[in-house]
């Protein structure tokens, strides 16, 4: 680029006169150099870069970034706190559930115990009643048996007398002899014993 070369020559020569003379090859002083390589504007740009970027760095590091960090940290803490609280509440709910289940189990076993007790009591009562009635029945049975035995005895005695009488009568009828009452009674006794006392 003509302007660029002209600038270099001008710098080397260090003479305003020569620079002006050579500068005519370009399109005037303003277009002399490709702007990004124009040393005339190096210092002003550097000065303002230092000022603005320095200010920006200070504002960011002292003011802005701590504030943003605070917001993010605050949120992180809040979330962690909420999660911890939720876990705690969950624990409480689980404890309540366990307690409820325990109470339920207790009530159930208590009900069971009461039922058992009642059943045992009823059974004992029933047993007692049955035992009572059994005893009474046995008593009655024994009484009845005794009565039967007495009646039977009596009946048997009657039978012997009747048999003896019948035997005397039969003998009298057959032989015409009058038997001794004692002898007949003995014979009847023997016969009944041989007949098994039926």
């Amino acid at each position: 680029m003509a302007g660029d070369i002209a600038e270099k020559i001008a710098v080397k020569a260090g003479e305003g006169e020569l620079a002006e003379e050579v500068g005519h090859y370009g399109d005037g002083a303003h277009d002399a150099a490709f702007p990004p390589f124009d040393p005339e504007y190096f210092v002003p740009q550097l000065v303002w870069l230092v000022l603005t970027f320095g200010l920006l760095y200070l504002l960011m590091s002292r003011l802005a970034l701590p504030r943003v960090a605070g917001i993010i940290e605050n949120r992180r803490e809040r979330i962690a706190g909420d999660v911890a609280k939720a876990a705690e509440l969950n624990g409480q709910a689980e404890a309540a559930q366990a307690e409820y289940e325990q109470a339920l189990t207790d009530a159930r076993s208590k009900a069971h115990a009461i039922a058992n007790e009642t059943r045992d009591k009823m059974k004992a009562e029933a047993d007692e009643l049955r035992a009572d009635s059994d005893a009474k029945l046995e008593e009655d049975l024994a009484a009845a048996e005794a009565r039967i035995a007495a009646t039977k005895e009596k009946a048997m005695a009657n039978v012997r007398d009747v048999a003896a009488e019948a035997a005397v009568t039969i003998v009298h009828q057959l032989t015409g002899e009058t038997s001794e009452a004692e002898t007949v009674a003995d014979a009847v006794e023997k016969a009944m014993a041989a007949g098994g006392g039926r």
């Binding site: 490709f34 390589f37 504007y41 210092v43 550097l46 870069l49 920006l56 960011m60 802005a64 504030r67």
Partner: protein
């Protein structure tokens, strides 16, 4: 035609002449946009964090995304120790991003297309790497340049190459950003200029033909937005990687 000159957009002029103590501190159009970028980034971050909402709004979300984006970048490339440089990397990223993005507006000056600016930022990073490396590790830090496990015969050569590659870092860091912005804006301007030239040619065929550079200009604009972000990102991540060398000099 001055209107289609692709270099014209890079011309600097002094808005306020400020020679202070022999230093030319004049405010140029580039300086104005440095101020604008500073104010823009500050306004963005400060407004976005002013409500301190637990559930962020749109602006706060953007601020938090930017914060986390840069923080993750620093952590993944330079480790948790690198977080002490987080404000610097964040400032660099946002400053360059805003500068590049503002440059996409017509008539706005893109100061990242100035080599002296990008090179100064690159030198800031490299001086910090050298300064912090020596401050933290003493002169042992220079072992960074001596690769372990290299045959002794090759050590001088490899070390020379390492030193050379280190020296080229600020150059490549600065030139990459500068060249991308410069070339992108020139390309945009050249293709946009074609539209004007074709419309001004006056021939019947030049009007429909002007659609082609128009389409290209639209595509290039989208590409330039991508490049604007990407170059800010590349500058920031390379800063992190270089800083990692200062923090952890072992290879």
């Amino acid at each position: 035609m001055a209107g289609t000159d692709p270099i014209h957009q890079f011309h600097l002029n002094k808005i306020v002449d400020l020679p202070i103590g022999g230093i030319d501190a004049s405010l140029t159009n580039s300086g104005v946009f440095m101020i604008a970028a500073t104010l823009g980034v500050t306004a963005f971050v400060m407004l976005g964090s002013s409500r301190k909402a637990l559930v962020p709004g749109r602006l706060q979300s953007m601020v938090e995304i930017s914060y986390n984006f840069v923080a993750d970048m620093v952590k993944s490339s330079a480790g948790t120790e690198g977080m002490r440089f987080f404000p610097l990397v964040f400032s660099l990223f946002m400053f360059i991003l805003f500068a590049n993005m503002m440059g996409m507006f017509p008539y706005f000056y893109t100061f990242t297309s100035q080599l002296v600016v990008t090179f100064a930022l690159a030198m800031l990073v490299i001086s910090l790497v050298i300064g912090y490396g020596i401050y933290k590790h003493g002169f042992k830090w220079l072992k960074l340049f001596v690769l372990p496990g290299v045959p002794i015969v090759l050590v001088p050569l490899v070390t020379l190459i390492e030193v050379f590659s280190f020296i080229t870092r600020p150059v490549s860091l600065g030139v990459r950003l500068f060249a991308n912005m410069l070339a992108g804006h020139i390309a945009l301007k050249v293709f946009a200029g074609f539209i004007v030239l074709l419309l001004g040619a006056g021939a019947w065929w030049s009007y429909p033909l002007a659609i082609l550079p128009l389409l290209l200009t639209i595509a290039l604009t989208a590409l330039e937005f991508l490049v604007s972000f990407l170059q800010a990102y590349v500058f920031a991540i390379l800063t992190c990687i270089y800083l990692n060398d200062a923090i952890h000099p072992g290879h």
